[in-house]
Amino acid sequence: MNINQLIFRNLKKNLRNYYLYVFALVFSSALYFAFVTLQYDPSMDSVEGSVKGEAAIRAASILLVVIVSVFLLYANNIFIKRRSKEIGLFQLIGMTKGKIFRILSIENLFLYFGSLLIGIFAGFSFSKLMILVLFKTTGVDSIASLRFSPQALVQTILVFTAIYLLIMIMNYTFIKRQTILSLFRVTSSTEITVKKLSRFEMVMGIVGLVLITTGYIVSSKLFGGDFTTMPQLFGAMIFILAAVILGTYFFYKGSVSFLLNLARKRKGGYLSINEVMSLASVMFRMKSNALLLMIITTVSALSIALLCLAYISYYSAEKTAEKNVPHDFSIIDRDSADTFQAALEKNNIPYTEKSIEVIQVTVNASQLIDRSLEELVIDPKAMPLPLISEKSVSGMEVSPDEVVFTGYDDLLQKFMPLKNSGSIKIKGKTETLTQRYVGLEDIYPVSWYFTAGGVPTAIVDDAVFTKLKSDIDPKVQKESTLYIGIDIKNEEQLEEADKLFKSTETYKKLYNESRHEISTNQKKNMGLTMFIVGFLGLTFLVTSGCILYFKQMDEGGSEKPNYMILRKLGYTQSDLLKGIQYKQLFNFGIPLLIGLLHSYFAVQSGWFLFGAELWTPMIIVMVMYTILYSLFGVLSVLYYKKVVREAL
């Protein structure tokens, strides 16, 4: 058998074993090529129009390269260790290290560039799909036509060749450093050492749990008002990050074994097959992979959280727009409204109008607000608030001595919470009225021009309103005291009306706004972010899933003798397989669960900065992630099935 045959046979054998590696390689090169193609594609200009599309996609492609190269290097590290016996054998029969390296390089060359080629081909077909997805999420109307970009091809090949060279350097140093003896020993030296749980590990386990819990608790209080200055807030954020990441490490290093050990102690030595295969093995193996698992967990938590937040803002784009612009069109002066309405009538678009008189008053609300973030520069003793009459809000009844607040921004509420009762003083120019505060409503009656983007609107009795109106303090008034909201009766005509709105003079005046436009803009921005975060998250998911799978392949190999023993003792294959499923539930479930928990608390602490809907988008993202991730667990069980069958 000559060298070429040897290479060819190795290749064939490897393909069967490492199909997932090939898949991951094809997938990541396809994705990279697609991203780069997008970057160079002229049709991207329409997306760029509103946001810096190209820059975002370029940044994403760089991140992609980082993820992919870390993954490939890591995977290669696993593979070369698995093949150390073979390398040792070659050396034993007199091959030089240089020759072995050459064999490995040629083998990898075929495997790697073969996959790359398929990847690029797939990526090209894929990029069309991607651009369609992109246009759909950003709401850009453009025909997705793609041309093959030689620039993108060159860039992809260059980047992946660089990664290939890096892998080769790694292989070279690995082979160079080894002696024949140590090559034979590699697999045995990586095996786990089984010892009793030391006290140190127990302490570490408890510290890990405590750290994570404190991190969670602090994160849920982050915007609860305990941290009132910016440095404090930043300090808290850094603390959470450090506590959770370190806690995760300790969790894998100690807590898992600690908890499982507790469960095991209770059994008094009498373990069922499921426990033998899961508890006992997971307990020792997680410890030795603590660093890897910590990285995987943290980065998956990060990507889930980012995905959730991006989706939250995308999902609640309409709701946010509704808060800022309560009607289809918000106009703040009569003339503009008339122009627009005339245009509407001319085009036979029926509409309704709602006009509200809004005055600005200075309010002393120190009884309701006892603290405020210094940086917000709002003085609770003299807050400018918009004021409207009860008549302007249908169904609202307010007694003469009362006041109702409505439409207080969620975010602002976190920093300046309102007490449930108290009284406020409303200052006019000469007079000051004391009103009893009776509650907060969730209606947004006027546009954000009047509410300065977030402060609540005060509603008082009509008589009181008239009184205050005659006593307004000109210093605090805005230019306009009239809000005109226009709603289009037929929803189908909304876009037409929007076009009309943009063509009139009305649009040119600042603060005359169309809700439709605001919500599409928001969608455009968040759509691109979501698109990028989504694909990066997917790459990360695939690569980290693959890494866990490879780890399981390794484990399967080293646990094969155990399966033989168990089968000799009389356990059937299906008994063992049940135990393995149980074990994989831990191996894949624990990192997933911790990742989901981390991201839940991260999202929970700051989601209101991004949108108005928490649960639906978060659950959708998490369920999707879980399903995709579980696929790798299923694949690993299938692999184990083979191992168990061959064990006896």
Binding site: K195, Y270, L271, V276, I565, G570, D575
Partner: protein, 253 residues
């Protein structure tokens, strides 16, 4: 009453062109409570014989009955079922699960048969005191000595009171002190519990603890020795003599 009855066992490996005939018609019967050992040179087929008798490997021809069940006719699933109730194993390299403590390892066979926890505890106490491993029950296999490991492995084989115990070179990896210690324990269990033990060994000392020794050569039974009333030393000498005749390469005439 015979526990194991094997008739005309044949076993061959390989394909049509290159056939390796390892067992060539072996008949063997083991009585209840017997401590029997199988001896033979390397490659004589003794381990293959043990594997087919213990259902780990399949015969090419012939029948094996254990407790009047015909093992050779069973399916994979039934065999597993059979192994869990009727067979116990002791191996040269202990075959303990590294991730389980001594006690957990020993209780494994009981957990397959879903014995109640209380009864399992009782059985464990019993077998652990008999084999002298009560003190190390919470240790992991890599924290104990080879002799202790082998006694753990023996305890695992005995705990569910199987019909027959197969031991494959149990003393192979032990020093002479631990080996004689283990053999004393095994023959003690053989007498106290009326346990049937079938052991494969090439160590004449180990074989001298048995009540019968079967010699195998080139896949056939060469001869048998019965201990009878003689003491262990004399029996050992007999075994040595037979082995002397048995060993060595025959000259082609």
């Amino acid at each position: 009453m015979s526990i194991l009855k094997a008739a005309k066992l044949h076993k061959s490996y390989g394909n049509k062109n290159n056939k390796q005939h390892v067992l060539k018609g072996i008949d063997l019967s083991v009585e209840k409570g017997e401590f029997i050992s199988i001896m033979g040179a390397s490659g004589s087929g003794k381990t293959t014989l043990l594997n087919v008798l213990s259902s780990i490997d399949q015969v090419s021809e012939g029948t094996i009955h254990i407790n009047s069940f015909e093992m050779t006719a069973m399916k994979e699933r039934q065999l597993a079922e059979f192994r869990k109730n009727h067979l116990g194993f002791i191996f040269q390299d202990y075959n303990l699960l590294d991730t389980l403590t001594v006690k957990e390892n020993i209780l494994l066979p009981l957990s397959i048969t879903k014995t109640s926890k209380k009864e399992a505890e009782k059985k464990f106490e019993h077998v652990a005191t008999e084999l002298g491993i009560s003190e190390i029950k919470d240790k992991y296999p890599n924290e104990i000595s080879g002799g202790q490991k082998q006694r753990t492995s023996a305890a695992r084989a005995f705990i569910h009171e199987p019909s027959i115990i197969f031991a494959d070179e149990p003393t192979g990896a032990l020093d002479s002190k631990s080996a004689s210690d283990l053999l004393n324990k095994l023959s003690g269990l053989n007498q106290n519990r009326q346990a049937t033990i079938l052991m494969v060994t090439h160590d004449p000392v180990a074989a001298s603890y048995c009540s019968r020794v079967v010699f195998i050569k080139d896949g056939q039974i060469y001869t048998q020795l019965m201990k009878g009333e003689q003491d262990r030393q004399d029996f050992f000498k007999d075994i040595m003599k037979t082995q002397g005749v048995l060993g060595g390469v025959q000259h082609e005439h």
